[in-house]
Symmetry: C2
Subunit: 347 residues, 2 copies
Amino acid sequence: MTLQRLGELGLIRRIRARAQRDAGAGVLKGIGDDTAVLALSPGASLLATTDLLVEDVHFRRATAAPADIGWKAIMVNVSDIAAMGGEPRYALIGLAVPGSTPAEDIEAFYDGMHAAASVHGVSIVGGDTSSTPHGWCIDVTLLGEHAGVPRLRSAARPGDTVAVTGSLGRSAAGLAVLEGGAAAVPAEVARELAQAHLRPCARVAEGRWLGRAPGVHAMMDVSDGVATDLAHICRESSVGARVRLADLPVAAATRAAADALGGDADRWAAAGGEDYELLVTCAPGEVAALVRGLRDATGTALTAIGEIEAGPVDVRWIGRDGGPVAFHAGYEHFHGTGRPGAGGTAA
Amino acid sequence: MTLQRLGELGLIRRIRARAQRDAGAGVLKGIGDDTAVLALSPGASLLATTDLLVEDVHFRRATAAPADIGWKAIMVNVSDIAAMGGEPRYALIGLAVPGSTPAEDIEAFYDGMHAAASVHGVSIVGGDTSSTPHGWCIDVTLLGEHAGVPRLRSAARPGDTVAVTGSLGRSAAGLAVLEGGAAAVPAEVARELAQAHLRPCARVAEGRWLGRAPGVHAMMDVSDGVATDLAHICRESSVGARVRLADLPVAAATRAAADALGGDADRWAAAGGEDYELLVTCAPGEVAALVRGLRDATGTALTAIGEIEAGPVDVRWIGRDGGPVAFHAGYEHFHGTGRPGAGGTAA
């Protein structure tokens, strides 16, 4: 059945039934009134972020199923909350789709959103739906809370070590696999990388732990690629940075895909984006303790990749041969270069 | 200069500078980090609502200037907070526009948003921007707070009087004027009605007062037209309603435009939508006191238009001749009937 036949009220009824079933504590009033009414923990600050996903800009229907799009729409926002060291709580969904869209696609999209939300205890509490003459346009706003002091992009200091959680480049490798490279790599590699691209996992537990750990200064999530995102930290902190390409943590599957597909694993890792790892700067003497502590608390690796420097706001990349490497920074909307990370650069 | 030339970072710099200048108390961190960090009043509940505005669905560039679109994008959301009896505080803006858009249009759009926001003490604290291959898609999320008990749609009781603030039908009349009828009506009538359509004013003070007044039960804002919006109250409260067309408050300018343009002022008032007045139900014995009290406190009229009834969930309309009148309910997206109010039906 198309949305045209189901109608907006029919659609909202279905959306609402599911949201009510999944609503967690704190939802005093969810979907169905002029606004949602929500509780926060006493004394906590409110965190708020919004991210757009536009068809044929952030995703293509050919390579991403509706449930994948829904998952990602939630997770990229959860990642922003994680990057503050906060707790994700509530989501509001703006969804504009053509009337010819099958209602099953929208239900699958909501399935994906609820799946991602439930991983992190997020309740979907409101939204708005609209027809559009064009492609899908999705805007998710995520509300969270922080009982302490959030970790800002502006807190990096000269001398800090730059470190990153997990593994970089898997999402870009996954996209290459999805866009025609699947046959060239082993099935389990293709599966792992496609999953990394379509179903990223926000580092909420890692953000919570790093956000409280002594010695951590700046923190943000890697949505547009380290090349772009570390430049944001430098700009906000008025510092420079130096990063060694050889030190970027790159998974074996990513290297295997690069070899098979003629890709550049280093470039995927530095500038591919959409990995949703956490990028931190910390006091250099604390790195070893942070690496051990994060591993023990969450099972996730933390890898030092460079240093913050006094001096011009700029990220200098050092190649495997010791010489300089230039990345044109990650995706900038409107210029139409690179590939967009779905993470917002303006909160 | 087009956005293509300015680039996303250039655009965000401009957006951010203005938002910082206008930021009110409570904005601990605005645009420029992974999330905004915000304060709420101790003990207050958080209110959250989101509304989409899609080009050629909610507005046409031919009849609405960018600053008008910006004003409305904020105000329709503020109206939802008003309808809970709450205080609007913070806005996040999702904006997808083509790269060919002049940067001046986007700045004018933000001018309009800031103008509307400043009327109600709202700070713009975050957002996301994206290119799109198609028309404008705007999603505004508004966060507010409520120190007491919000007024819900589900609180109407049989026997309640149904009443509405201000005047109905002016927005529909204004659209008729804008879509080619301006020459047929006096200039001051055209100006008043076009203003009502393009620059609606949310009833925040009225919502605050009515939200605290004894005897007020259900409350919501009139975004899709009384015919549709009262049906929402009936459905949420499991009650019916009876409304007398002759009792709807209709401004002289609206009647003048209807006469001149061959429109139906009663239909504009009942089903036109986008008036952003407040619709309340209240104990019948309290109506007179509420009318006086609201007028004294805010200068705004409150007019009784019907009653809530036990029985089937349905709104019965009584025409000027005493007989029944049928309105097909206001806009439903995807069906493509009527005209969309920009107010969300799902929070």
